[in-house]
Amino acid sequence: MPAPQPFSSGSGPERRFHLLGWTLSRAPGSPPRPPPPIAAAPPADPLNEALERLPEPVMVVGARDAEDLADRQVLFANAAARDLLRLQGGVGPLVSAIRDPQVLEAIDESLFGGLEGRCVFHTVGNQDRHWLALTRPMGDSPGGARLALLLLRDETDARRSEHARADFLANASHELRTPLASLSGFIETLRGHARDDEAARDRFLGIMQAQAERMARLIDDLMSLSRIELNEHIAPAGRVDVGQAVNDVIDALAPLAQTRGVKLEAILPARGEVVAEGDRDQIVQVAQNLIDNALKYTPDGGVIRIEVFAGPESAITVPRDPTAARLALLVPDHAAGELYAAIRVADAGPGIAREHLPRLTERFYRIEGQKSGERSGTGLGLAIVKHIINRHRGGLMVESVLGLGAAFTAWLPVAR
């Protein structure tokens, strides 16, 4: 098989992709023309450029031998395809790019059967994606190899909103039932024998208000969780000064900490020193949830240590206390040499037993025997943190020593 010709070479049969006007302007022998007035520096080949920048992954596969799988070669892959399938240089054996049996079959049908193929295809990882794979025969290349086109259409959004709706309904109806039952119980009592008891009425109304507030918090959390989940596969665009964001959260929570006599000790970088790629509101929510949790479990008069720093993943996840039980709750898809901004929050609470660590980010997971105080949470805080960090392509780790406290570290890529 001859060396695959990259489409951008602009010679041979690929010539036909050139736009007519542009080709004419470069017709051999014609005198050099002044550049077109609109675009100062037009791309070498607008059609290739368009294909290259198409947001949907597109690939051309060539093969000669129907029997030999190693012979199927990717001849062209646009930027989206190279990015999705980690194809360096955009060419190479097909199986190292795609090995899903159904997609391989569909490509073969187009290559050797002349049929149009269609199948669903998932890419798993931290961000699951659902694709519709479409294949089309492209006939023979001048070199005698058979060609087929593969187009992947992203169907994640549709699948996800379907899922999210079902999940939301299941979670919401289940979790709202308890506070709702208690509310109707009190209403009944207030209409019945507590009707004229002023002291009881005040007390009951207080409890009812707390329950109503709990329901409101729960709905808020569920809504923000499902919003985050819907966007989880779309990386955020924006720059956040992580130190400043965390500082704002500390300022906001300081009064609450003060009433509890809890000290918030923060080691923050200078302004502009640690800047991450991200959505500011979401980073604030991460810091807020982590510090809120720490406040919940730190006894009065305790100290919460908050740190923001940057470094490679290995430096962030290095164990601080060798006796601590540690578990990564989320690990970013492997990227060598990436620098991360980290937020670490260590509380002085009772710590978390090892067996609970893997389930911490589960929705509504509560550790048995854990007292739910007046500031009891919704059970969604860490789930929200995990989904936000996953959207940011980051990681989350917990360390815990029973009796001494627990520490959560969240990290996300720094802005380039």
Binding site: D65, E67, D68, L69, A70, R86, P93, V95, S96, I98, R99, D100, P101, Q102, L104, H122, V124, G125, N126, P319, P322, T323, A324, A325, R326, L327, A328, V331, H334, A336, R354, E355, H356, L357, P358, R359, E362, V401, L402
Partner: protein
């Protein structure tokens, strides 16, 4: 195999790698489908998985034959020998993954006759995604000869164990709470164990990939979590 075509030695090695990668893709989709079948109680899918297992067995045999043929006729040395033997070993690990996926599918058929235990199958789904992710990463590492990725899979071996232990406790609590759930619980326990075994096979493959590329074993510096328990 297409013996009528005279191929170069390099082509034959590339063919072997491609076949193992294809087999990896098949094993991966069997495992993913098995997890989907359990969590969605999808008996049609479960039956399809059972039916497809044969293809993995055939591929395993074919790869073994091709590798033996290559060793006999070409007498590969050093790197090439490691690649050939590695392909054979990885294929047999993948074949085992397929068997475990098939077993999960068979248990799904039985589970579908009982009442749904959504909370538990959800936990199984979570552990399953973790295991499937490891299998995907390690096959990526193999097909791209990416040693960092292989080591990353190997280093994170204990995550699956932690999930397994948590799930084990959860299942015991559930079965103690209501003895009528013991049948379903026991099947789920085996499913969890199967997933843990698939995770182990991914670790094995990571070791084979490392050996194939470097010619050396991964040096055991892996921190075992048990030693980190508070005293």
């Amino acid at each position: 195999m297409n013996e009528h075509i005279v191929k170069s030695y390099g082509d034959e090695l590339a063919h072997l790698t491609a076949e193992v990668t294809r087999m990896g893709g098949l094993a991966e989709s069997q495992v993913n489908d098995a997890i989907a079948a359990v969590t969605k109680r999808d008996t049609t899918l479960a039956q399809a998985i059972v039916g497809r297992d044969e293809r993995l067995d055939t591929l395993d045999t074919e790869i073994e034959r091709a590798a033996i043929r290559l060793i006999a006729l070409r007498q590969p040395m050093a790197n090439d020998l490691r690649r050939t033997v590695g392909a054979m070993k990885i294929a047999s690990n993948l074949e085992r993954c397929g068997d475990l996926a098939k077993n999960i599918a068979k248990r799904t058929l039985i589970l579908a006759e009982n009442d749904p235990a959504t909370a538990l199958t959800r936990s199984i789904g979570r552990m399953g995604r973790l295991v499937a992710g490891r299998l995907k990463d390690v096959i990526d590492a193999y097909s791209h000869a990416d040693i960092d990725r292989a080591v990353a899979v190997w280093l994170r071996d204990e995550e699956v164990d932690e999930h397994y232990n948590a799930l084990f406790r959860e299942l015991l609590t559930y079965m103690m709470g209501d003895p009528r759930t013991i049948t379903a619980g026991a099947h789920l326990l085996f499913i969890a164990k199967n997933l843990e075994r698939i995770g182990d096979h991914a670790t094995n493959i990571a070791e084979i990939v490392h050996f194939q590329i470097t010619g050396e074993e991964i040096v055991s510096q892996r921190p075992k979590l048990d030693s980190l328990k508070p005293q």
